[in-house]
């Protein structure tokens, strides 16, 4: 049979000599290797204190965006739900009443907007589908929970903090990814 690589070596099946049977020399060699590793730089990252930098295209949990005046951008058009390959998004639309103009940007808004984070595959297609720039994926990744229902994120979990009341939190939630994207646009 022809070897698959040029580096293939036949296995040495010679019976071991007495010295080899004592294993001492090879054990000693192995111990020198582990001794070297003892002083090597550790690969561990102490997670909560120290975070690995994300790649600029990292896709984490969703965020429902607001505009500069703090109004929700989503108009409950359902395009994100349609685009979603995992069928993770459901929503219920409602009509904006007079006097609610400061809350919702469009005449129709999402009264209920849920993403099931267990179904979601974080593909980002919802973000691409959205005509209103209302949903995008942030840099936080899915936290743990004891119950499955804890993974169904409603509007209160998804909505970004209001930029007018709470600009610090808002810009934190916007994160690097969104900012980078805006720059490149």
């Amino acid at each position: 049979m022809q070897a698959l690589t040029s580096r293939a070596k036949p296995v040495d099946r010679k019976p071991m000599t007495f010295l080899e049977k004592l294993y001492v020399w090879s054990i000693f060699k192995g111990m020198m290797i582990t001794l070297r590793h003892l002083f090597k730089k550790k690969a561990t990252i102490s997670y909560p204190e120290e975070k690995r930098p994300f790649s600029p295209v990292f896709r984490g949990l969703h965020i429902l965006n607001r505009d500069e005046e703090g109004r929700e951008r989503c108009t409950a058009c359902g395009l994100c739900a349609l685009a979603c390959p995992a069928e993770a998004i459901t929503m219920e639309a409602a009509e904006r009443l007079p006097g609610e103009e400061n809350l919702y940007r469009e005449e129709k808004y999402a009264a209920k907007y849920e993403i099931n984070m267990l179904r979601c595959i974080f593909c980002g297609l919802c973000e691409e589908a959205c005509p209103k720039d209302a949903v995008y994926l942030s840099e936080t990744f899915a936290p743990s929970n004891y119950q499955r229902k804890g993974f169904i994120y409603g509007k209160q979990d998804l909505l970004i903090p209001n930029p007018k009341d709470n600009p610090g939190e808002y810009w934190k939630a916007v994160g690097n990814r969104k900012a980078n994207k805006e720059q490149s646009n």
Binding site: L22, Y23, I27, M31, L35, H37, L38, K41, A43, S46
Partner: protein
């Protein structure tokens, strides 16, 4: 006269009791921190950091582990022999602790004008006593495996017992060669001779090496941890054990490791002698010298314990036939040769041949 005798005895009793309590608690604490050290060494060898969350650098980790073991549900299998089931871990623990009685931990302290020997019992058959007690450790394994009423536990116990017994032979043989040199079974005298001249390891390098390998096997440490083999056979003779009874077995293993390190340091590396320093010139330091000597013993022990761990995290365990081949076909002949050569040299020397 009568009352004076009584008073002296009382002092002796108190002295020994304090020594016993001290040494037992020291061994327990050391065994505790061996578990921590083991995890740290393993982590560092594998380029990790090891436990570092409980307290600074994870110093409190052993306490957390112990607490966890205590909180676990205590299960005694229905079909087991209850008495033996409980006796097993107790025996393992007992055998592990008892050996420390004959170890000389240091010179003589001077406490309130009294000479206090840092050795619980300076008996003249010290090393034989160690061997007697160590081989009792097999009973802990056997009884535990048998009482579980589980064929896998029993098989693991047999595996363990046969391993321990086969490695006791080369251990004893290498020791005979050493005893021919020292001419005494008394631990304190063996140490005394080494303080005055060279360490025994210089006369008996092969003997020491065989002793080291056998100590690995006696403590069921990798590469000889077949009685446990937790990841490929079943968990071992303590498969049915849970909670603190399991903790006792694991703990006994760590104490065994500590004790065998102490025995090796005492027999071959000069015990509490401070290396490269002539201890006799330091007697002016009084009690401080004794403490320094104790410290030097503990440093030697720590090095041995580190070697134990280093080996464990370097090499995989042997197959059972390799284990038996190594024991019977390599170590026993080697130790026999070592013994005969030593005997010949001792004979030649005593007959007046100068070297």
């Amino acid at each position: 006269m009568h009352s004076a005798l009584l008073a002296i005895d009382l002092f002796l009793v108190i002295e020994k009791l304090v020594l016993i309590v001290g040494i037992v608690s020291i061994s327990l604490v050391i065994a505790m921190y061996e578990t921590y050290a083991e995890r740290k060494v393993a982590a560092f060898i594998q380029d990790r950091r090891g436990p570092n969350r409980a307290g600074p650098f994870g110093i409190l980790q052993p306490l957390a582990d112990g607490l966890k073991l205590f909180m676990k549900e205590e299960i005694i299998p229905n079909t087991s022999n209850r008495f033996l089931f409980i006796l097993g871990p107790c025996l393992a623990m007992l055998a592990a602790m008892m050996t420390s009685a004959v170890i000389p931990w240091g010179g003589t302290l001077n406490v309130f004008g009294r000479e206090v020997n840092l050795q619980i019992a300076d008996i003249n058959i010290g090393i034989l006593y160690v061997f007697g007690v160590v081989s009792m450790g097999v009973y802990g394994i056997m009884i535990g495996g048998w009482a579980s009423n589980n064929k896998f536990s029993l098989m693991a116990a047999l595996r363990g017992a046969s391993q321990v017994i086969s490695y006791e032979l080369p251990m004893g043989l290498s020791l005979i060669a050493l005893l021919m040199l020292t001419g005494s079974l008394k631990m304190s005298e063996i140490v005394g001779q080494q303080i005055d001249s060279w360490y025994n390891v210089l006369y008996q390098p092969l003997g020491f090496f065989i002793f080291l390998v056998c100590a690995f096997a006696e403590c069921n440490r990798t590469p000889f941890d077949l009685p446990e083999a937790e990841n490929e056979l079943n968990f071992g003779y303590h498969q049915e054990y849970s909670s603190m009874k399991l903790g006792f077995y694991l703990f006994a293993e760590y104490i065994n490791m500590f004790i065998s390190s102490v025995v090796m340091a005492t027999l071959f590396w000069g015990g509490y002698d401070i290396p490269f320093v002539n201890d006799a010139s330091l007697t002016g330091m009084g009690n401080w010298l004794v403490l320094l000597q104790g410290l030097s013993l503990f440093i030697k022990v720590a090095i041995f314990i580190f070697v134990f761990m280093w080996v464990r995290w370097t090499i995989p365990r042997f197959r059972y036939d390799q284990l038996m081949n190594l024991g019977w076909k390599a170590l026993i002949p080697l130790s026999l040769v070592n013994m005969i050569v030593t005997a010949a040299i001792v004979l030649l020397k005593t007959n007046g041949w100068k070297f």
